[in-house]
Symmetry: C2
Subunit: 603 residues, 2 copies
């Protein structure tokens, strides 16, 4: 089934949901009902009546009736004024409001609203005079379509949950009930999705984050601003170190920039005009400086590039910085590490000559590929090109050459890729990385982007071999993206069973009784000298000792609940034979104390 | 000479300066003339006439005359209303304004003004009715004193510079001229000071920061927000790593907290009431959250402490975090790294039981001592105790015990120390560290502070051996203090000749001609494998190669101007004998290639 067909199917189910709700509660008022990932929702106002999961079977039963009736979806057009009168008569104030907006400007303003939902005939930014409706059975809805032919063609579905949602995403508006469903073309696919959700629930990084003591939140500090415990900080540091090490092997050098800046910087870069109302603003009480928290690092990095003259022989100049950016996400949208206000990027910027693009992209792809392979995530990339429309900045010839160089680099790295026109940023083509996790979900993890605009705006240049001033090309790249988001994905990918090199507590020694304490000290001396070199260099083994007077069973249970990958069980017999019993997820085995270091290095 | 005598001497010189200026320019209007470090200044309004350094000899000549006249300093009191009339008649509007303020409230408000300057008889916060004047020769000044007996007793002095200064530090007021002088009891001491200033000028970290390409500033980013180049970032990272390593050896664990917080956190901690108007405020445009940039980390760290229950067996809990704080310094006061708006602290907090204070302080002192010894800075500590006045929070018995434990720890570490009552913070006693640099200047580098207040405010507790809830003690400590400020001191201490382990570029290979390229590759392979373990572990040698077709002399000159500590000169004869000529600041010597690694590790 094509994406378009799947979309039409899910959208038709939104109508069927509303129709079913209206059959049960005829006084229902409806907001919008768009398609979302894996399904759809409909915003419903039932006054004081509140839908709960206990109502789902009733609604689903009614939906199945409508489906069994194979009602045809019929489209008709209407003058917008007639449509407004119709909605008024039918007591549908939300639809009426949308129509009034549409009449005024041809568009409605709602951040969380799917544009598909608006029943415009003309896709225009100016006032319009006709709108379309779709009818199935006794239910008619303002809608642009398209739909499936009849209600029988909607595959398999399930209502999932209901949640409060403000009309048009604005806290000042009335609160509606958002009824979510998932839908797939076959029952088999729906079952697979539900199974994946079950799996995901067990692996939920918010649950594991608490159980494994990785991070916490404080209502005094605020939502979306997680604080990382010692264990969580080990994860942060090691993944960031890994990313740094990979890039340093390609000539990147670490720099440091502050987290705030005068807004002048963003006026110059152009970000102020585009994103100024999405920034955290910083007020100085001592001066009249206009400042902001940085939401990205490129403008700061340009200031280090221009801090001294550059010659063609110095190029490429490669900067990396792991630093925290701040984005003013709405607090209602924040949960866990997936979406945060403080996001730490393993950011990097290359300033190079045009003829160096392919080699630089090649370097970045090769380390990205190494990283995701080493953590068992399959990588797929999208080459995002410009299309023939206007609105792209930079010379056409530069675009063509750059896109060819991107593709050449992707092919050199043997990456699974697909090309898509019209997906480039306005300032340059890019490569988007998608990684698949252990339960089959695909996550966008990072991008490599070419930028022809900031070099112009900031006057980034170098002296070429002939002594002339030449314009630099800028490449943006983060391997992990945001470390917080990466960890949210990685915790769920591993279900908290981190690879040995990364586990916050790698080894726990469990004693059987106190007669082995001297022998344990010998073991600890070995562990203290054990330094892993792969994939991160100089990674000293992190171990603890549980020598409490408790049963071995209890000790094993506790170590396992903390997902300590290597448990060294030490009893009198181990001491006598100068061995340890190594307990890992793959079983238990005896290892001679003389081979312990090599054993750990081989994990 | 006692500090009080030196103060009186310098203050008398301020009067003599004003008297001399008035002899030369009788229309001069005077502001305030306080004592500052090593000398004094006087704020003067000469209308459109501007004092320049070329006037200094003339003013100094007049000052010497007054000194030779041995004029007695005579004090007299006057009703405040008479004093106001007198100043009005003498056309001294600034003095008149001070007197009017004094009359109203007994105090004047000026951030940059030395309270000594105000001629109050009563040191009171309420309105007063008598003020004092001092006369020497034909010059009379509103003043509280004290002064030397006569103008002959003022030691050796020198006018140093003149700078613009707004009246009472407020940009909206008229601009005056601030005339600075230095003064010491003997000419010898003055000369030593002037020599130190000369030395300091050569070592100025702002000059070296540029020459050695360590950091830059951008007018688009703003004042006091330095950006660190790759070379400067090596310094930042290594000193921070060193500090971390020392503390990790004492059981500290790294944590991570965001740079912003809801102001609720500071309302709870009490910082909001005390410092609320000195914070950078952060405005969310998407929500109504009231946020601020963190100016310190303790409140954030308490939130990790309380994120899970703690037992007496878990104590002490030791957190460390190198993180950037933001303080809203006035931009006029910002220059170089000494005073910045973005200051990165190597911060740490211990949460412990009362009986663990001495051991924890002992740990911190021992690593601080190790750090400053290793970089050749002499450390002296001040034990800052409470006095018998009110205003200290926390139990008296706790204070006494804590102060004894601090002293015991200082003595155990054999540190040069002195004790001072009344210098404690209101929330607990502390230890201040002073380090002396290569040209004899003493810098406050860090403090260890006990805190009895935040544990109360945030409810920091643990379960004691009897199962009861007990209050934790909190210890604040940074070894370097602010990394930016530490670097400003350290760059000047070393004059940019960093110790081998820390130099951004440690080794530069200088070729004599192209016949040695293969041999250079052998040398580079050795350098690549050389990893220093002291004082920072896993410190890979940073080297470059200068194989340009330039003269050796030019190559040496450039490497020396970048203060590269080890220059490896490689010519055909070195290749034949399998040696390198190692050029360091202490001379040149031949080292066999087989011993190169050991040689470098021994530096």
């Amino acid at each position: 089934m094509s994406n378009e067909d799947l979309h039409a199917m899910r959208h038709s189910l939104a109508h069927i949901t509303a129709a079913a709700v209206k059959r049960i509660w005829p006084e229902a008022k409806f907001g919008v009902g768009p398609v979302v990932e894996n399904g759809f929702y409909y915003d419903i106002d039932l006054g004081t009546m509140s839908i709960s999961e206990s109502n789902f079977s009733k609604i689903e039963k009614e939906m199945r009736k409508i489906i069994a009736e194979k009602q045809t979806f019929e489209r008709f057009n209407m003058d917008i004024d007639d449509a407004i009168a119709k909605m008024h008569n039918e007591n549908q104030p939300y639809k009426k409001e949308l129509l009034n907006d549409l009449k005024r400007s041809g568009t409605t303003v709602a951040k969380d609203m799917d544009a598909d939902e608006l029943g415009t005939i003309a896709d225009s930014d100016t006032a319009i005079d006709k709108v379309s409706f779709y009818t199935n059975g006794d239910f008619t809805d303002l809608c642009r379509g398209p739909h499936v032919a009849n209600t029988g063609d909607v595959g398999a579905f399930k209502l999932m949950r209901v949640a409060g949602a403000y009309w048009r995403g604005n806290e000042k508006n009335s609160q509606m009930q958002r009824l979510y469903g998932v839908a797939f073309e076959t029952q088999e696919k729906l079952d697979a999705h539900l199974e994946q959700l079950e799996q995901a629930k067990l692996r939920d990084h918010r649950k594991l984050g608490k159980e494994l003591d990785l991070y916490t939140n404080s209502s005094l500090v605020g939502a979306g601003l997680p604080l990382f415990t010692p264990r969580g900080t080990v994860l942060r540091d090691l993944v960031s170190q890994y990313s740094n090490q990979l890039r340093q092997s390609k000539g990147f050098e670490k720099i440091w920039t502050p987290h705030i800046t005068k807004t002048d910087l963003y006026e110059k870069s152009g970000h102020w005009a585009k994103f100024g109302d999405e920034l955290f603003l910083v007020t100085s009480q001592e001066t009249s400086d206009k400042l902001a928290l940085k939401p990205m690092n490129c403008p700061h990095h340009t200031q280090l590039y221009v801090s001294k003259p550059r010659s063609y022989k110095d190029m490429p100049v490669r900067f990396l910085e792991t630093t925290t950016d701040y984005r003013d996400e709405k607090t209602g949208e924040l949960g866990g590490l997936n979406r945060v206000r403080s996001l730490t990027q393993d950011d990097s910027h290359v300033f190079c000559r045009q003829d160096q693009i392919e080699e630089e992209i090649n370097n970045l792809l090769s380390v990205a590929s190494e990283l995701y392979t080493s953590i068992d995530m399959k990588l797929r990339v999208r080459l995002s090109y410009r299309d023939s429309s206007d609105g792209y900045l930079g010379d056409m010839q530069l675009w063509t050459s750059a896109q060819e160089q991107l593709k050449a680099a992707v092919e050199r790295n043997g990456l699974d890729f697909f090309e898509q026109e019209g997906e480039a940023a306005f300032y340059g083509p890019k490569i988007d990385f998608m990684a698949t996790d252990a339960i089959g979900r695909e996550h966008q993890v990072a991008t490599v982007q070419l930028d022809f605009v900031q070099p112009e705006r900031f006057g980034l240049e170098y002296t070429d071999a002939e002594g002339n001033v030449a314009r630099s090309v800028m490449i943006h790249c983060a391997l992990l993206g945001s470390i917080e988001r990466f960890l949210s994905v990685f915790i769920e990918h591993t279900a908290g069973w981190f690879p040995f090199w990364l586990a916050p507590e790698q080894v726990r020694i469990l004693t059987i009784n106190d007669t082995v304490i001297d022998y344990v000290k010998e073991i600890e001396a070995i562990l203290k000298d054990t330094v892993l070199m792969k994939p991160v260099k100089y990674n000293e083994v992190r171990f603890t000792r549980d020598d409490r007077n408790e049963s071995l069973g209890k000790k094993i249970k506790e170590a396992t609940s903390m997902k300590v990958p290597v448990q060294l069980i030490v009893g009198p017999r181990d001491k006598d034979s100068r061995e340890v019993s190594v307990r890992t997820r793959s079983g238990e085995e005896k290892v001679s104390i003389d081979h312990l270091e090599d054993y750990l290095k081989g994990l």
